[in-house]
């Protein structure tokens, strides 16, 4: 299966395409076959012994054995371990309900903050923005969020957001912003001093020293979603020249 997958890396695949270990041309002469591990990322699913494509897009590969489908979408589906920007909607008893952009609201316990105890409750109000990560996120259960890591440290998570602007973009732009050598980010760096919070659910929060700059950055990010790299560079350059 592994060689068949590697051959199709970079191709456009559609849901229904599948990869099976029986398609391999090579037959092992020994009975005991070394199990080859394949990690299938988003867009690929296991069905019995076969690997099935479930989202249309381009097949990508990362060493040594990771494959996934790269596609565009705006609707977020919660995934375990991802950090998102949520909006607190309900504060009831021991838990908060947080809108994360998925099909249902996630729950966030009041104890899931750094230094929170039963007596010392965190200061979270309805309407606050939280930067949190999923610990439970599957199709069978209600998603759960926490604002700390496994050792109890906040690591930048928790309530934030006075004086900034929250807006939505596509999930592809979020991934492009957070990728290791992001061009969009390096272009943005040249403009104004600012602070960004990027949620994997397609939500961005921007804060700059002046409201005008904040709005400029927000507009830039929303519009460069659908531009080519050259158009984007041109746009940023015009803004940098026109910026006072």
């Amino acid at each position: 299966m592994f060689p068949a997958l590697k051959q199709r890396v970079g191709d456009v695949l559609l849901p229904g395409d599948e990869f099976s270990s029986e398609d391999d041309d090579t037959i092992s002469l020994t009975d005991h076959v070394k199990p080859e591990k394949v990690v299938c990322g988003p867009g690929l699913r296991r069905s019995g012994d076969r690997l099935v494509v479930c989202k249309s897009g381009v097949l990508r590969h990362k060493q040594p054995n990771m494959f996934w489908m790269e596609s565009q979408q705006r609707r977020y589906v919660p995934a375990k371990g991802e950090t998102i920007i949520g909006i607190v909607t309900v504060k009831s008893g021991d838990i908060f309900k947080v809108d994360c952009g998925g099909s249902e609201q996630a729950s966030l316990s009041y104890l899931a903050f750094e230094g929170a105890t039963k007596r010392n409750r965190p200061n979270v109000q309805v309407g606050d923005l939280v930067f949190a990560q999923f610990i439970i996120a599957n199709k069978d259960m209600e998603p759960e969020l926490v604002c700390m890591d496994s050792s109890g440290r906040a690591n930048g998570m928790g309530v934030f957001g006075g004086g900034g602007l929250l807006f939505s973009v596509s999930l592809g732009l979020v991934r492009r912003l957070l990728s290791p050598h992001s061009e969009v980010l390096s272009d943005l760096q040249q403009l104004f001093p600012c602070e960004l919070v990027v949620g994997m659910n397609g939500r961005l929060w921007v804060k700059s020293s002046r409201v005008q700059q904040t709005l400029v950055i927000a507009n830039l990010l929303q519009s460069c979603d659908t531009m080519t790299a050259q158009q984007r560079r041109e746009l940023f350059r015009r803004v940098a020249q026109g910026a006072l």
């Binding site: 988003p42 599957n138 690591n155 991934r175």
Partner: protein, 118 residues
């Protein structure tokens, strides 16, 4: 890498592991970002949370030190000697004074209680 599902344990031919998140696939960075010192705490977090990049010179960067390692080693050598002298008992100090001119040190046996033979 967060593993959410592993295929049936009985099959020992192929192992297909499902991963729901893009984060390990594309090595995505930490979600809070600050530019040009706008929020110093976030900039500190960025250095802490992002996977450390490899430098061209070597994998670990040497910290800027005020004095070299050799000077530090020499300082420690004399420090150990002076601390030992400070806590030495009177008899040991006297013995050390006698030995100072010669380049060897004698170990002082402590006088302990000796049990009578019979």
């Amino acid at each position: 890498l967060s593993l959410s599902l592993v295929s049936d344990w009985s099959s020992d031919r192929n192992l297909i592991i499902e991963e729901q998140s893009f984060v390990p696939c594309e090595d995505l960075k930490f979600g809070r970002i600050s530019f040009k010192g706008f929020n110093p705490e976030v900039e500190k977090l960025m250095i802490l949370m992002n996977p450390r990049e490899e430098e061209e010179g070597g994998e670990e960067s040497r910290m800027q030190t005020d004095i070299t390692d050799e000077e530090m080693a020499l300082r420690y050598e004399s420090l150990v000697g002076s601390m030992k002298k400070k806590f030495a008992k009177k008899r040991e100090r006297a013995a050390n004074e006698d030995n100072k001119n010669q380049n060897f040190s004698e170990t002082i046996t402590k006088r302990a209680f000796m049990k009578p033979q019979d």
